[in-house]
């Protein structure tokens, strides 16, 4: 249960990070608070869009789904005699997809754009933790 709770809290934090980047992309927030100065370079690069939509919007949608599923998961029993396993499987699949997408974006930042955005790296750390927690929760249940 602790893992599911931790995932819900992390997903909510990730949702706010993505919202911050998306609102900046919409022009509703001024200069990003970014110590390295690389945030604007990353956000203004052509890679800030994916399939015609801002990458940050994928983050908002992804974290929102992760938060809803993990919040529902917290309400489900995860111990014998009748543990509900579907939330753990769903979370592991969603988090793995998010992790792979984030890995692609981080590689772009480091090796193509040559600039790093602290908020993007923060989001990468969050999704990595969520993926590790959700996979360990699935292993625990199997």
């Amino acid at each position: 249960m602790r893992r599911r709770q931790a995932i819900a809290v992390l997903a909510l934090a990730g949702l706010f990070v993505s919202l911050y980047l998306w609102l900046h992309k919409l022009g509703l927030i001024g200069v990003l608070q970014c110590g390295t100065g690389g945030c604007d370079t990353v956000q203004a690069s052509p890679y800030a869009d994916f399939l015609g939509l801002p990458v940050a919007l994928y983050g908002v949608a992804g974290y929102a789904v992760l938060f809803v599923v993990s919040f529902l998961a917290v309400q489900q029993p995860d111990a014998p005699p009748r543990p509900a396993r579907w939330p753990d499987v769903a979370l592991a699949i969603l988090a793995s997809l998010g992790f792979v997408f984030t890995l692609y974006l981080t590689v772009l930042e480091l090796f193509v754009i040559h600039a790093t955005c602290r908020w993007c790296l923060g989001s990468a750390a969050i999704i990595t933790l969520i993926a590790l927690l959700s996979l360990s929760q699935v292993r625990r249940g199997s």
Binding site: A8, V31, A44, G52
Partner: protein, 220 residues
Amino acid sequence: MRGFYVLLAAVGIGGAAWLAYAARHKPDERPAPATPVPVAAAGSFRGYTLGSDSAPVHITEYSDFECPFCASFATVQMPEVRVQLITTGKVQWRFRDFPLSSHQYSRFAALAAQCAGEQGKFWEMHDQLFYNHQWAQRGKNPSGLFRGFAKTIGLDVDRYDACMDSQRYAGRIEESRQEGEALGVDHTPSVYVDGRKFVGQPTSDALKALVDSLTARHKR
């Protein structure tokens, strides 16, 4: 379980407060321009062009001289675009300045290009700025380097200096940026084909495919 809800509420309230703060302080956080820019000075100038006015397809590029992707586009894709689309008469290419606020010297570089344009050598300076793009990575004042570019392309350097010192075309550059902003330009380079935003990576092959399909449609 109670601790979980308390933590969730704390993250929710903290995150919402942070977003509200960031949105409310938007105007104060934008860096002030170095000097006031009279947009009215731009006049009716619509950007430097390559290719014939009578070309069937018109492409407008919004670009930032300090942006690495714009340099890559100018040095890798643009030579192909010139050969395949501009010299063949299929396209008229228009360059518009879109200096990003995060780039320290992009307005200065845009000014250098405009001052070269005053002497009929905009595209020569455009190429100097993009093909010698190391200046954009150094973060040092590039005025001496740009002056060297001016000499290389054969500008009257005294006229160039006077133009740069007076910031004669600052209004033109700001007007171009505002035009791009109104169109929804959110990254550089952004390309508009016959007024419609080109979605995806603007490679020469992708642009050629689009131009060919538009040209075929024009002929029907």
